[in-house]
């Protein structure tokens, strides 16, 4: 018997009490997972490869955010407008992460464009190990702490809505993640570049035959995916106040699971998969001790792979009609 396990019916009112709280937690977590998953799914959609280095891109975003916060505070107190600090943390993390993402594509993936997929995959693993150890070498193994309390005015840090306790950071994270997802959706659906991206993902060679500069599209995909991953790194730092050189591994697995759950290659799928995964993890915590959170993730991954390998929104398009 797992200690702390609540059996259904045993304590129904506890469940109902916890439900709204865990929904909020789930949405926060889910938004972050979705941002990470988008990077996996966009790269997979065009290059057909799993970018194992994506977790590290997220980690580098987290570190960038930490450095910005660190440089803009003295004795754990920020000396600038907090909104401006948070904005700078996120923007700079997005810039640094996309820069690393583009370098990765240019030097580790592009030379292997015509090589077998397995070579690309191994190259991605190599980049992942390299980046992780690069950060370990220069930042050390010690976790860095985000001193966020000075970022938010005292009265605003925790908001009570009935029985639900919501920290300001959670609200911020939910708003920002869903805002970014909304903007990305608009961009992909409406703009010329977005249409070119979808076309390239569906038939790369045909896209070339229409004059689409596929190399530029691939760079754009890495910029967008990495920027969102970097932003996720900062948001998680703000929420859980810690970052170290190894956080990319776990986050990468979660993002990957979310992408597979939604249907890898599908951007709406990645968003849906991320939010669902976050909700599942948080709701499971009502019944299970919180250490089992990750077990839930991977049980979901295994079930999806067995029952519906194409994911919720993924579908196989016949290559030739």
């Amino acid at each position: 018997m797992i200690q702390g396990l609540i059996l259904p019916g045993q304590d129904m009112h506890l469940f109902l009490l916890e439900l709204p709280q865990q929904l909020v937690n789930g949405l926060t977590l889910g938004g972050v997972y979705a941002l990470i998953a988008i990077g996996y799914t966009m790269v997979y959609g065009i290059l057909g490869m799993l970018n194992f280095a994506h977790g590290e891109i997220y980690m580098i975003g987290g570190f960038t955010g930490w450095w910005v916060l660190h440089l803009l505070s003295r004795n754990h107190q920020v000396f600038m407008n907090s909104a401006a600090v948070i904005f700078l943390m996120i923007i700079l993390a997005m810039i640094v992460s996309s820069f690393v993402g583009v370098l990765t594509e240019r030097f580790a993936y592009r030379p292997l464009r015509n090589a077998p997929r397995i070579n690309l995959l191994l190259s991605a693993l190599g980049v992942s190990i390299f980046l992780r150890n690069f950060v370990l070498n220069y930042q050390g193994a010690k976790a860095r702490t985000f001193y966020v309390s000075s970022l938010i005015p005292k009265g605003l840090q925790i908001i009570h809505v009935g029985p639900v306790v919501i920290s300001f950071m959670r609200i911020l994270v939910i708003i920002l993640t869903f805002l970014m997802m909304g903007l990305l959706t608009l961009m992909i659906k409406r703009t010329k570049a977005g249409k070119a991206m979808r076309a390239t993902a569906q038939d790369l060679e045909m896209a070339t035959f229409l004059g689409i500069d596929v190399d530029r599209i691939i760079v754009m995909v890495f910029i967008i995916g990495s920027a969102l991953g970097g932003a996720a790194g900062v948001l998680v730092g703000l929420l859980f106040t810690q970052v170290d050189y190894y956080v990319g591994f776990q986050a990468g697995l979660k993002g990957f699971t979310a992408a597979v759950l939604g249907g890898i290659g599908s951007i709406p799928g990645a968003m849906l998969g991320g939010v669902l995964l976050g909700l599942c993890e948080s709701l499971a915590v009502i019944f299970l001790p919180s250490e089992y959170k990750d077990v839930v993730t991977f049980v979901i991954l295994v079930i999806v792979l067995i029952v519906k390998p194409t994911g919720l929104l993924g579908e196989k398009v016949p290559e030739k009609v």
Binding site: Q202, E205, L210, G211, V317
Partner: protein
């Protein structure tokens, strides 16, 4: 007639690795013409198209588009110079709407207003596409997909339109319709270079034809003359129609 050809092959040799697939290919296509390249499987027809598009590298010789050398240039530059293709199996974007597929045909153009007008023209030429404008490409029938691929290619306003096996995968009835459309588009002023196995159909609408056999051009003449050529009758036109490739 000393006109400058739109497309000209001079002494083209092409290889896949160490295997030579094209031997000293020479031909030209003049503005407004409909020229077809005929040949069986593995004769080098598709390779010829790939050399135009810069996908297959040429070892010797020159390909010129309106007098400018194009072999050695990257595909995107060749496309930008005015080459469009209706590829084998059409390859429309399955998870994009008909409208989006058409818009992508005009990807390199900046004159939005003009493009909108031309999309209207495409809808007049193929009324069924207007009805399907907001449907995903994957929901179209083979014939509709062929129209869409044609419309998409025309929207780039090509100097020359390449067509790769337009009869492939279409029912015999649709093949007839398809070739009528090609003829119509050609008569409206588009220069077309078509690669096709179905020699009878192709020659019935073409101005001139070249016959490719294991990488060499063995015959070229006006379409009418080719239809009456004894060797052609024996090798390609046959007493009976070979429906093998069109019966799907």
């Amino acid at each position: 007639m000393e006109r400058e050809p739109v497309l000209k092959f001079e002494h083209i040799d092409a290889y896949y690795g160490s295997i030579q697939v094209l031997y000293d290919i020479n031909f030209e296509v003049y503005a407004g013409e409909l020229v077809c390249l005929l040949g069986g499987n593995a004769s080098g027809k598709s390779t010829t198209l790939k050399t135009i598009l810069g996908v297959c590298k040429v070892r010797n010789g020159t390909i010129t588009l309106k007098g400018e050398r194009i072999n050695g240039k990257p595909t995107k530059e060749i496309i930008a110079m005015g080459v469009a293709i209706v590829p084998e199996n059409r390859r429309i974007f399955p998870k994009m709407t008909v409208m989006e597929n058409l818009e992508l045909g005009a990807y390199l153009r900046r004159d939005k207003e003009q493009v909108r007008e031309e999309i209207e023209n495409i809808f007049e030429l193929f009324p069924i596409l207007r009805k399907r404008a907001n449907q995903m490409g994957v929901t179209l029938s083979g014939g509709e997909q062929q129209m869409l691929a044609m419309g998409r290619a025309l929207l780039s306003r090509p100097e020359i339109l390449l067509m790769d096996e337009p009869s492939m995968g279409l029912s015999p009835l649709l093949v007839n319709q398809q070739f009528e459309i090609i003829q119509e588009v050609n008569q409206r002023g588009t220069t077309i270079f078509m690669v096709e196995q179905n020699a009878n159909m192709a020659l019935s609408i073409a101005d001139r034809g070249y016959v490719l056999q294991t990488g060499e051009i063995v015959l070229h003449d006006t379409a009418q003359a080719l239809l009456e050529n004894e060797m052609m009758k024996k090798a390609y036109l046959g007493g009976h129609e070979d429906e093998e490739d069109t019966g799907e």
